[in-house]
Amino acid sequence: MVKTMRTWFRFGVLLGALSLGAGAGVAMAQPEDDGAESPADQRATSFQAVKGPTKETIPGGTLLVVAYGVVWLLVFGYVLRVGRLERRTAADLERLEKMLRSDANGGANG
Protein backbone atom coordinates (compact mmCIF):
# COMPACT_ATOMS: atom_id res chain seq x y z
CA MET A 1 0.00 0.00 0.00
CA VAL A 2 2.80 2.37 1.05
CA LYS A 3 4.81 1.33 -1.99
CA THR A 4 1.85 2.08 -4.29
CA MET A 5 1.41 5.52 -2.72
CA ARG A 6 5.10 6.26 -3.07
CA THR A 7 4.95 5.24 -6.74
CA TRP A 8 1.97 7.53 -7.34
CA PHE A 9 3.72 10.36 -5.48
CA ARG A 10 6.83 9.95 -7.66
CA PHE A 11 4.61 9.87 -10.75
CA GLY A 12 2.88 13.07 -9.62
CA VAL A 13 6.19 14.85 -8.97
CA LEU A 14 7.48 13.75 -12.39
CA LEU A 15 4.28 14.92 -14.10
CA GLY A 16 4.48 18.27 -12.29
CA ALA A 17 8.11 18.73 -13.28
CA LEU A 18 7.32 17.85 -16.87
CA SER A 19 4.41 20.30 -16.93
CA LEU A 20 6.58 23.09 -15.54
CA GLY A 21 9.36 22.22 -17.97
CA ALA A 22 6.97 22.13 -20.89
CA GLY A 23 5.43 25.46 -19.89
CA ALA A 24 8.82 27.05 -19.51
CA GLY A 25 9.93 25.56 -22.82
CA VAL A 26 6.92 26.92 -24.66
CA ALA A 27 7.45 30.34 -23.06
CA MET A 28 11.16 30.31 -23.98
CA ALA A 29 10.32 29.27 -27.53
CA GLN A 30 8.15 32.38 -28.02
CA PRO A 31 9.81 35.31 -29.76
CA GLU A 32 10.71 38.11 -27.37
CA ASP A 33 8.32 40.47 -29.10
CA ASP A 34 5.02 38.67 -29.57
CA GLY A 35 3.38 41.52 -31.46
CA ALA A 36 1.16 42.62 -28.59
CA GLU A 37 3.62 45.29 -27.60
CA SER A 38 6.21 47.10 -29.65
CA PRO A 39 8.77 49.85 -29.13
CA ALA A 40 7.66 53.43 -29.76
CA ASP A 41 9.43 53.63 -33.13
CA GLN A 42 7.53 50.59 -34.48
CA ARG A 43 4.02 51.75 -33.61
CA ALA A 44 1.52 53.75 -35.64
CA THR A 45 3.05 57.11 -36.41
CA SER A 46 0.60 58.40 -38.98
CA PHE A 47 -3.11 58.69 -39.74
CA GLN A 48 -3.99 58.76 -43.44
CA ALA A 49 -7.20 59.74 -45.22
CA VAL A 50 -9.34 56.94 -46.73
CA LYS A 51 -9.81 56.75 -50.50
CA GLY A 52 -13.00 55.10 -51.81
CA PRO A 53 -15.77 53.22 -49.92
CA THR A 54 -14.93 51.20 -46.79
CA LYS A 55 -16.55 48.32 -44.92
CA GLU A 56 -16.21 47.97 -41.13
CA THR A 57 -16.51 44.86 -38.97
CA ILE A 58 -16.70 46.72 -35.66
CA PRO A 59 -19.28 49.56 -35.77
CA GLY A 60 -17.01 52.60 -35.52
CA GLY A 61 -19.93 55.00 -35.95
CA THR A 62 -21.65 53.74 -32.79
CA LEU A 63 -18.42 53.97 -30.81
CA LEU A 64 -17.91 57.52 -32.09
CA VAL A 65 -21.43 58.59 -31.11
CA VAL A 66 -21.01 57.07 -27.64
CA ALA A 67 -17.62 58.79 -27.21
CA TYR A 68 -18.96 62.23 -28.14
CA GLY A 69 -22.06 61.63 -26.04
CA VAL A 70 -19.88 60.89 -23.02
CA VAL A 71 -17.79 64.03 -23.62
CA TRP A 72 -20.85 66.29 -23.77
CA LEU A 73 -22.52 64.55 -20.83
CA LEU A 74 -19.46 64.94 -18.61
CA VAL A 75 -18.68 68.55 -19.59
CA PHE A 76 -22.25 69.85 -19.39
CA GLY A 77 -23.02 67.76 -16.31
CA TYR A 78 -20.01 69.31 -14.63
CA VAL A 79 -21.00 72.84 -15.68
CA LEU A 80 -24.53 72.28 -14.31
CA ARG A 81 -23.13 70.92 -11.04
CA VAL A 82 -20.78 73.89 -10.58
CA GLY A 83 -23.57 76.30 -11.55
CA ARG A 84 -25.82 74.80 -8.87
CA LEU A 85 -22.99 75.07 -6.33
CA GLU A 86 -22.47 78.72 -7.29
CA ARG A 87 -26.15 79.55 -6.76
CA ARG A 88 -26.10 77.82 -3.38
CA THR A 89 -22.97 79.63 -2.16
CA ALA A 90 -24.35 82.98 -3.41
CA ALA A 91 -27.56 82.37 -1.45
CA ASP A 92 -25.56 81.40 1.66
CA LEU A 93 -23.43 84.54 1.36
CA GLU A 94 -26.49 86.73 1.09
CA ARG A 95 -28.14 85.06 4.09
CA LEU A 96 -25.02 85.37 6.26
CA GLU A 97 -24.44 88.96 5.19
CA LYS A 98 -28.00 89.91 6.21
CA MET A 99 -27.60 88.08 9.49
CA LEU A 100 -24.32 89.80 10.37
CA ARG A 101 -25.58 93.21 9.20
CA SER A 102 -28.72 93.04 11.29
CA ASP A 103 -26.65 91.92 14.27
CA ALA A 104 -24.22 94.81 13.76
CA ASN A 105 -27.07 97.32 13.41
CA GLY A 106 -28.73 95.92 16.54
CA GLY A 107 -25.43 96.20 18.44
CA ALA A 108 -24.91 99.76 17.23
CA ASN A 109 -28.46 100.80 18.15
CA GLY A 110 -28.40 99.02 21.49
Partner: protein, 249 residues
Protein backbone atom coordinates in the same frame (compact mmCIF):
# COMPACT_ATOMS: atom_id res chain seq x y z
CA UNK B 1 -20.32 95.44 18.18
CA UNK B 2 -18.74 96.67 14.94
CA UNK B 3 -19.99 95.40 11.61
CA UNK B 4 -17.29 93.40 9.79
CA UNK B 5 -16.34 95.48 6.78
CA UNK B 6 -15.21 92.48 4.74
CA UNK B 7 -18.76 91.13 4.61
CA UNK B 8 -19.99 93.74 2.14
CA UNK B 9 -17.57 93.09 -0.73
CA UNK B 10 -18.03 89.34 -0.28
CA UNK B 11 -21.76 89.56 -0.71
CA UNK B 12 -21.53 92.08 -3.51
CA UNK B 13 -19.20 89.78 -5.41
CA UNK B 14 -21.55 86.84 -5.08
CA UNK B 15 -24.83 88.60 -5.78
CA UNK B 16 -23.69 90.84 -8.62
CA UNK B 17 -21.87 88.53 -11.03
CA UNK B 18 -23.10 90.61 -13.98
CA UNK B 19 -20.34 93.14 -13.26
CA UNK B 20 -17.72 90.54 -14.13
CA UNK B 21 -17.41 90.84 -17.91
CA UNK B 22 -14.38 88.62 -18.48
CA UNK B 23 -16.01 85.33 -17.62
CA UNK B 24 -19.08 85.58 -19.90
CA UNK B 25 -16.81 86.63 -22.77
CA UNK B 26 -14.53 83.66 -22.19
CA UNK B 27 -17.51 81.30 -21.95
CA UNK B 28 -18.96 82.70 -25.20
CA UNK B 29 -15.63 82.25 -27.01
CA UNK B 30 -15.45 78.66 -25.74
CA UNK B 31 -18.96 77.87 -26.98
CA UNK B 32 -18.25 79.41 -30.40
CA UNK B 33 -14.95 77.55 -30.70
CA UNK B 34 -16.66 74.27 -29.78
CA UNK B 35 -19.13 74.77 -32.63
CA UNK B 36 -16.31 75.48 -35.09
CA UNK B 37 -14.37 72.44 -33.89
CA UNK B 38 -17.37 70.16 -34.33
CA UNK B 39 -17.81 71.47 -37.86
CA UNK B 40 -14.14 70.80 -38.65
CA UNK B 41 -14.23 67.30 -37.14
CA UNK B 42 -17.31 66.17 -39.05
CA UNK B 43 -17.11 68.47 -42.07
CA UNK B 44 -13.45 68.98 -42.91
CA UNK B 45 -11.31 66.21 -41.39
CA UNK B 46 -11.27 63.11 -43.64
CA UNK B 47 -12.06 59.56 -42.52
CA UNK B 48 -8.88 57.67 -41.55
CA UNK B 49 -7.72 54.88 -43.85
CA UNK B 50 -7.07 52.11 -41.29
CA UNK B 51 -9.52 52.81 -38.46
CA UNK B 52 -12.38 54.51 -40.26
CA UNK B 53 -14.73 57.01 -38.68
CA UNK B 54 -13.86 56.04 -35.08
CA UNK B 55 -10.52 57.86 -35.49
CA UNK B 56 -12.50 61.12 -35.09
CA UNK B 57 -12.52 60.40 -31.35
CA UNK B 58 -8.86 61.52 -31.58
CA UNK B 59 -9.90 65.21 -31.95
CA UNK B 60 -11.49 65.24 -28.50
CA UNK B 61 -9.43 62.52 -26.84
CA UNK B 62 -6.00 64.14 -27.28
CA UNK B 63 -7.06 67.73 -26.40
CA UNK B 64 -8.87 66.29 -23.36
CA UNK B 65 -5.56 64.78 -22.26
CA UNK B 66 -3.98 68.21 -22.73
CA UNK B 67 -6.79 69.82 -20.69
CA UNK B 68 -6.17 67.19 -18.01
CA UNK B 69 -2.50 68.19 -17.90
CA UNK B 70 -3.50 71.87 -17.54
CA UNK B 71 -5.95 71.12 -14.73
CA UNK B 72 -3.60 68.88 -12.76
CA UNK B 73 -0.68 71.29 -13.23
CA UNK B 74 -2.84 74.16 -11.96
CA UNK B 75 -3.74 72.00 -8.96
CA UNK B 76 -0.10 71.16 -8.21
CA UNK B 77 1.02 74.79 -8.59
CA UNK B 78 -1.87 75.98 -6.41
CA UNK B 79 -1.02 73.33 -3.81
CA UNK B 80 2.67 74.24 -3.76
CA UNK B 81 1.87 77.92 -3.36
CA UNK B 82 -0.71 77.14 -0.66
CA UNK B 83 1.86 75.14 1.33
CA UNK B 84 4.27 78.04 0.98
CA UNK B 85 2.03 81.10 1.43
CA UNK B 86 -1.01 79.57 3.24
CA UNK B 87 -3.40 81.77 1.27
CA UNK B 88 -6.88 80.45 0.53
CA UNK B 89 -6.82 81.75 -3.04
CA UNK B 90 -4.05 79.28 -3.89
CA UNK B 91 -6.04 76.48 -2.30
CA UNK B 92 -9.04 77.46 -4.44
CA UNK B 93 -6.84 77.20 -7.56
CA UNK B 94 -5.68 73.76 -6.39
CA UNK B 95 -9.26 72.52 -5.89
CA UNK B 96 -10.43 73.96 -9.22
CA UNK B 97 -7.50 72.38 -11.07
CA UNK B 98 -7.98 68.99 -9.46
CA UNK B 99 -11.70 68.90 -10.22
CA UNK B 100 -11.46 70.13 -13.82
CA UNK B 101 -8.45 67.90 -14.49
CA UNK B 102 -10.33 64.87 -13.15
CA UNK B 103 -13.30 65.57 -15.44
CA UNK B 104 -10.98 65.58 -18.47
CA UNK B 105 -9.14 62.53 -17.15
CA UNK B 106 -12.49 60.68 -17.10
CA UNK B 107 -13.10 61.81 -20.69
CA UNK B 108 -9.68 60.47 -21.71
CA UNK B 109 -10.19 57.17 -19.91
CA UNK B 110 -13.64 56.64 -21.47
CA UNK B 111 -13.01 57.81 -25.04
CA UNK B 112 -9.67 55.96 -25.23
CA UNK B 113 -11.15 52.46 -24.74
CA UNK B 114 -13.96 53.25 -27.22
CA UNK B 115 -11.28 53.94 -29.82
CA UNK B 116 -9.15 50.98 -28.66
CA UNK B 117 -11.99 48.50 -29.14
CA UNK B 118 -12.06 49.36 -32.82
CA UNK B 119 -8.30 49.72 -33.28
CA UNK B 120 -6.99 46.92 -31.07
CA UNK B 121 -10.05 44.68 -30.65
CA UNK B 122 -9.99 45.07 -26.84
CA UNK B 123 -11.33 47.76 -24.53
CA UNK B 124 -8.26 48.03 -22.35
CA UNK B 125 -4.62 46.93 -22.21
CA UNK B 126 -2.11 47.61 -19.46
CA UNK B 127 -0.09 49.87 -21.75
CA UNK B 128 2.28 52.27 -19.88
CA UNK B 129 0.38 55.38 -21.00
CA UNK B 130 -3.04 53.95 -20.17
CA UNK B 131 -1.85 52.67 -16.81
CA UNK B 132 -0.13 55.90 -15.77
CA UNK B 133 -3.15 57.95 -16.87
CA UNK B 134 -5.41 55.77 -14.74
CA UNK B 135 -2.94 56.12 -11.85
CA UNK B 136 -2.97 59.92 -11.96
CA UNK B 137 -6.77 59.88 -12.28
CA UNK B 138 -7.04 57.73 -9.15
CA UNK B 139 -4.61 60.02 -7.33
CA UNK B 140 -6.69 63.12 -8.02
CA UNK B 141 -9.90 61.21 -7.30
CA UNK B 142 -8.35 60.56 -3.87
CA UNK B 143 -7.58 64.30 -3.63
CA UNK B 144 -11.22 65.16 -4.33
CA UNK B 145 -12.49 62.51 -1.93
CA UNK B 146 -10.25 63.95 0.79
CA UNK B 147 -11.47 67.48 0.09
CA UNK B 148 -15.06 66.32 -0.20
CA UNK B 149 -15.51 65.49 3.48
CA UNK B 150 -17.40 68.68 4.28
CA UNK B 151 -15.30 71.65 5.30
CA UNK B 152 -11.71 70.49 4.90
CA UNK B 153 -9.45 71.43 7.81
CA UNK B 154 -5.85 72.52 7.60
CA UNK B 155 -4.51 68.95 7.87
CA UNK B 156 -6.72 67.71 5.02
CA UNK B 157 -5.71 70.67 2.89
CA UNK B 158 -2.00 70.02 3.43
CA UNK B 159 -2.33 66.30 2.79
CA UNK B 160 -4.34 66.92 -0.38
CA UNK B 161 -1.71 69.44 -1.50
CA UNK B 162 0.91 66.72 -1.15
CA UNK B 163 -1.17 64.39 -3.32
CA UNK B 164 -1.48 67.04 -6.03
CA UNK B 165 2.28 67.64 -6.03
CA UNK B 166 2.91 63.88 -6.37
CA UNK B 167 0.43 63.89 -9.27
CA UNK B 168 2.49 66.56 -11.05
CA UNK B 169 5.47 64.19 -11.17
CA UNK B 170 3.36 61.52 -12.90
CA UNK B 171 2.40 63.87 -15.78
CA UNK B 172 5.80 63.73 -17.58
CA UNK B 173 5.82 59.96 -17.10
CA UNK B 174 2.46 59.79 -18.92
CA UNK B 175 3.74 62.03 -21.68
CA UNK B 176 7.04 60.25 -22.34
CA UNK B 177 5.81 56.70 -21.62
CA UNK B 178 5.04 56.08 -25.31
CA UNK B 179 8.63 56.83 -26.23
CA UNK B 180 10.44 55.17 -23.34
CA UNK B 181 8.53 51.92 -22.84
CA UNK B 182 7.00 49.23 -24.99
CA UNK B 183 3.27 49.54 -25.45
CA UNK B 184 0.46 49.88 -27.95
CA UNK B 185 -0.52 53.53 -27.71
CA UNK B 186 -0.10 55.39 -31.05
CA UNK B 187 2.70 57.94 -31.31
CA UNK B 188 1.12 60.10 -34.00
CA UNK B 189 1.78 63.51 -32.44
CA UNK B 190 4.50 62.62 -29.93
CA UNK B 191 7.90 61.04 -30.40
CA UNK B 192 8.58 60.26 -34.03
CA UNK B 193 5.02 61.03 -35.08
CA UNK B 194 3.84 63.90 -37.24
CA UNK B 195 2.16 61.84 -39.93
CA UNK B 196 -1.18 63.65 -39.94
CA UNK B 197 -3.16 64.51 -43.06
CA UNK B 198 -3.12 68.37 -43.47
CA UNK B 199 -6.89 68.67 -42.83
CA UNK B 200 -6.55 66.42 -39.79
CA UNK B 201 -3.72 68.62 -38.49
CA UNK B 202 -5.78 71.82 -38.86
CA UNK B 203 -8.71 70.21 -37.06
CA UNK B 204 -6.50 68.99 -34.24
CA UNK B 205 -4.84 72.40 -33.80
CA UNK B 206 -8.22 74.16 -33.67
CA UNK B 207 -9.40 71.54 -31.19
CA UNK B 208 -6.37 72.23 -28.98
CA UNK B 209 -7.16 75.97 -29.09
CA UNK B 210 -10.81 75.24 -28.23
CA UNK B 211 -9.91 73.07 -25.28
CA UNK B 212 -7.57 75.82 -24.03
CA UNK B 213 -10.58 78.16 -23.82
CA UNK B 214 -12.84 75.45 -22.40
CA UNK B 215 -10.42 74.47 -19.64
CA UNK B 216 -9.75 78.15 -18.81
CA UNK B 217 -13.51 78.77 -18.56
CA UNK B 218 -14.08 75.79 -16.30
CA UNK B 219 -11.09 76.64 -14.09
CA UNK B 220 -12.29 80.23 -13.70
CA UNK B 221 -15.85 79.13 -12.91
CA UNK B 222 -14.76 76.54 -10.36
CA UNK B 223 -12.21 78.92 -8.79
CA UNK B 224 -14.90 81.57 -8.34
CA UNK B 225 -17.25 79.10 -6.69
CA UNK B 226 -14.51 77.81 -4.38
CA UNK B 227 -13.62 81.35 -3.31
CA UNK B 228 -17.27 82.02 -2.48
CA UNK B 229 -17.44 78.74 -0.54
CA UNK B 230 -14.37 79.82 1.45
CA UNK B 231 -16.05 83.14 2.22
CA UNK B 232 -19.21 81.36 3.34
CA UNK B 233 -17.10 79.37 5.83
CA UNK B 234 -15.42 82.55 7.11
CA UNK B 235 -18.75 84.32 7.60
CA UNK B 236 -20.25 81.25 9.26
CA UNK B 237 -17.35 81.28 11.71
CA UNK B 238 -17.96 84.98 12.30
CA UNK B 239 -21.66 84.36 12.88
CA UNK B 240 -20.92 81.51 15.29
CA UNK B 241 -18.55 83.69 17.28
CA UNK B 242 -21.35 86.21 17.62
CA UNK B 243 -23.76 83.49 18.69
CA UNK B 244 -25.95 83.92 15.60
CA UNK B 245 -25.56 80.32 14.45
CA UNK B 246 -25.82 77.13 16.45
CA UNK B 247 -22.68 75.00 16.62
CA UNK B 248 -23.32 72.01 14.36
CA UNK B 249 -19.78 70.70 14.02
Amino acid sequence: MAFPQHVVPYARMATEPSKQVGFPVLAAISAAMLSITLYLIFGLAPVELQMGVVQKIFYFHVPSAYAMYVGFTASAVGSTMYLWKRRDAWDAIAVAGAEVGTVFCFIVLITGPLWAYKAWGVWWVWDPRLTTTMLVGMLFAAYLALRGFGAAGEVEKRFASGLAIVGLFILPIIHYSVQRWRGQHPTVITGKGGGLDPDMRVTLLVSFATFTFVVATLLWLRFRVERNAQRVLELELDARERGLLEDSW
